[in-house]
């Protein structure tokens, strides 16, 4: 008389059917593509993929290549600095805007505007700005300080910082907006309570507000990190990897190997290494974030 309990599989059937396309995309395109790449990174594929396995040869060549090592080093410098600076600058700007200032909308628009530009445009703009013959350096020299030199894009030692400047200019606006949204989400009463207790403002920000903004910080962190790993177009537009190989980055190595050198195997090996690096950082973090506090 009592109806049989419907099987677990058919619960919420509509939702499950609706998500089939996305599941297929994830499994076939993302997972399938990744596995395919990893498998072919052990072959000697040239212009076209072919299954002739050569063991770890591609990885040995990769790690003995000076250009790859320079790429990794550049990504590390750019990554760490851009993470720190965009969070700090973004948060400070947001905190300043949060002081109920006049023309807040105008400032917000100005700060966010660079984000509307693509990395290619950003790269070109900053290539001109940092060009010693027509950019900032020449303006300052024109003002009378004739010995002034500032040409990061033509100096192999500091070129990565030239790229960092452009990256920060483009990206901090978004971070600021996210932080501002986070700050607005903090209850007014918290501020009142802090003021009643006589806690100075900077302490309130540092020890009360920031810990409360944890979800916003995590979202921001994911966005910035994704931007760092795929850094490519900014470098291509600004320096083309030069001077020499001083501003090469891993994503550019992968592209150049796959399409210029017609050496797919080497490109796949490099992209597998990129995936591995991301996985090493991401998996422990995801485990701590989502695995540790599973509540019944």
């Amino acid at each position: 008389m009592a109806a049989q309990r419907p099987s677990q599989l058919f619960r919420n059937l509509n939702a499950k059917i609706a998500s089939i396309p996305m599941i297929l995309t994830a499994v076939v395109v993302f997972l399938g593509g990744t596995l395919w790449t990893v498998v072919y990174s052990f072959t000697d594929s040239k212009l076209l993929p072919r299954l002739r396995f050569v063991g770890l040869d591609q990885y040995e060549r990769l790690w003995s290549s000076n250009r790859w090592l320079v790429s990794i080093e550049n990504l590390a410098i750019y990554g760490i600095l851009s993470l720190v600076f965009s969070l700090v600058i973004g948060f400070v700007l947001a905190a300043l805007l949060d002081q109920k200032i006049r023309f807040e909308d105008t400032f917000r628009t100005i700060f966010l505007y660079p984000f509307a530009l693509s990395f290619i445009v950003t790269g070109l703009v900053w290539q001109w700005l940092l060009n010693p013959d027509l950019g900032i350096a020449s303006v300052i020299r024109g003002l009378g300080w004739t010995s002034f030199t500032f040409d990061p894009l033509y100096n192999a030692d500091i070129v990565i910082y030239g790229i960092l400047i452009a990256g920060l200019w483009q990206g901090t606006g978004l971070v600021m907006c996210l932080m501002l949204a986070g700050l607005r989400g903090i209850d007014e009463d918290i501020w009142k309570a802090a003021r009643v207790d006589g806690i100075p403002m900077w302490k309130t920000y540092l020890f009360i507000v920031i810990p409360m903004m944890r979800p916003v910080f995590i979202t921001t962190l994911v966005l910035i990190t994704a931007g760092i790993v795929k850094l490519y177009d900014l470098v291509v537009a600004q320096t083309g990897g030069g001077p020499g190989i001083a501003s090469e980055v891993p994503a550019k190595y992968v592209y150049d190997m796959m399409f210029l050198a017609q050496n797919l195997g080497q490109g796949f090996a490099a992209s597998t290494m990129m995936l591995l690096t991301v996985a090493i950082i991401l998996i422990p973090w995801a485990y701590l974030e989502f695995g540790g506090k599973r509540r019944g």
Binding site: K46, L47, L48, N66, R67, P132, D133, Y154, A156, G240, G242, P243, G244, I245, A246, Y255, D256, M257, F259, L260, A261, Q262, N263, Q266
Partner: protein
């Protein structure tokens, strides 16, 4: 009345597509975008349009290294164009092996290409397993030194007659505020400078031993060490240039801000567009004035296999047009390159082109580096030389050791 006009309109609309079918649109991709190059490619388009077909121009800006990946991914991705430029040699080797390209052997035999081609190496590099897969359209040689006469006049010294003299003149040029040697910041240009120094200072045998036989011992030996010393001098002479593309570097020579540039004969098109005259405004030294040797590099067009019958026929028409003697003359005069046929005369050729033709006629040619090294190896040497040019702390000895290793591992 209305019926009749309606019928006429219908008939007209039915006839139109039929007649239009004869004029087939073919998309041709290439990376010829600088002033002289664009003028030359317009000649090819004009000649093809005259056959009743239509040339759809697919120029891709940003030199071959930007264009080739786009072309290759279109072909392998199932969206092939009707014809595409490559430097013949090993760039399209795998595409041909995988069966993406049309076999042009029948057309070549019918038109007796082998009898009229200027250097046999040209068709050889289009041939794989006895079948011809591309139409060479011009001969370009890398081994040229372009000098600005005015720059040397300003420095108060005579125009050098060879590489040694240019090196000796460098301090005087610096004093006069000129850059002795303009070298663009792109890897392929810096690699080109090395290859030309090797051709000119080392000679044909050394080049073949290193690049063709891939003899790593020779590459690490004393003869190649001399080339690296010369390259270090070139690095020194190029300091302060800060230009990226080759035509910007050529422009430094045209505007007399630089003494000279080592660049292929395609640079000549730029001098022509700027209205300069060979001999009075600028001087050209084939083989850097050291060894009269030019390579049979060049551009060729490949025709991807298409399913469309009409287009396939039009592809043959296009291939035949490109090989046509008159088209060859018109195209190469604008391009500043040498024609691939020996049965055409270039009365309109200027001094520099005549020098090149004479060397070609004497048979002093060498295989192009592109046909000896795979793109993979070329990318590695590109990286090495761009590092070398950007970083004065790399010694010639250290660079040579790395070069020998690349040659040892080359395929």
């Amino acid at each position: 009345m209305t019926y009749r006009s309606l019928a006429a309109a219908l008939a007209a609309s039915a006839v139109l597509p039929l007649s239009a079918a004869h004029a087939t649109d073919l998309e041709v991709t290439h990376w010829w975008t600088s002033g002289g190059e664009a003028a030359a490619v317009a000649e090819l388009a004009k000649a093809f349009d005259a056959t009743g077909n239509h040339w759809v121009d697919g120029a891709i800006a940003g030199s071959g290294s930007t264009a080739r990946p786009i072309m290759i991914s279109r072909i392998t991705g199932g969206d092939p164009m009707a014809a595409t430029q490559f430097n013949h040699g090993r760039q399209a080797e795998e595409l041909v092996e995988a069966g993406y390209m049309r076999d042009l052997t029948d057309l070549a035999t019918a038109e007796k290409w082998a009898d009229v081609v200027a250097a046999p190496a040209l068709l050889d590099s289009c041939t794989l397993d006895g079948k011809i897969y591309c139409v060479p359209v011009n001969i370009h040689s890398w081994q040229w030194l372009w000098l600005s006469n005015k720059a040397f006049e300003d420095a108060g010294i005579p125009v050098p007659a060879n590489w040694e003299e240019l090196v000796a003149a460098a301090p005087k040029l610096r004093e006069a505020g000129k850059i002795p040697l303009a070298v663009g910041g792109e890897p392929w240009q810096q690699n080109g400078v090395f290859n030309v120094l090797m051709n000119a200072l080392g000679g044909k045998d050394l080049t073949l031993k290193v690049y063709d036989e891939k003899d790593a011992e020779v590459a690490a030996g004393p003869e190649v060490a001399k080339i690296f010393q010369a390259l270090a001098q070139a690095r020194e002479m190029s300091q302060g240039g800060n230009v990226k593309s080759w035509n910007e570097a050529t422009n430094l020579v045209i505007t007399d801000r630089a003494g000279g540039q080592i660049m292929g004969d395609w640079a000549q098109g730029e001098f022509q567009v700027a209205g300069e005259v060979a001999g009075t405004d600028y001087t050209c030294l084939p083989g850097l004035g050291e060894t009269e040797l030019i390579s049979a590099d060049g551009d060729a067009f490949y025709f991807p296999l298409l399913k469309d019958e009409e287009k396939s026929k039009a592809q043959e028409v296009l291939a035949s047009t490109m090989f046509n003697p008159e088209v060859q003359v018109a195209f190469n005069l604008k391009k500043g390159s040498l024609p691939i046929r020996k049965d055409v005369d270039l009365d309109a050729a200027n001094d520099c082109m005549k020098k090149g033709l004479a060397i070609l006629a004497a048979g002093n040619t060498i295989k192009s580096t592109d046909s000896m090294l795979s793109p993979d190896t070329t990318t590695q040497t590109n990286t090495l030389f761009t590092e070398f040019f950007a970083d004065p702390s790399i010694t010639p000895e250290a660079a040579q050791a790395r070069f020998a290793e690349i040659i040892a591992n080359a395929d």
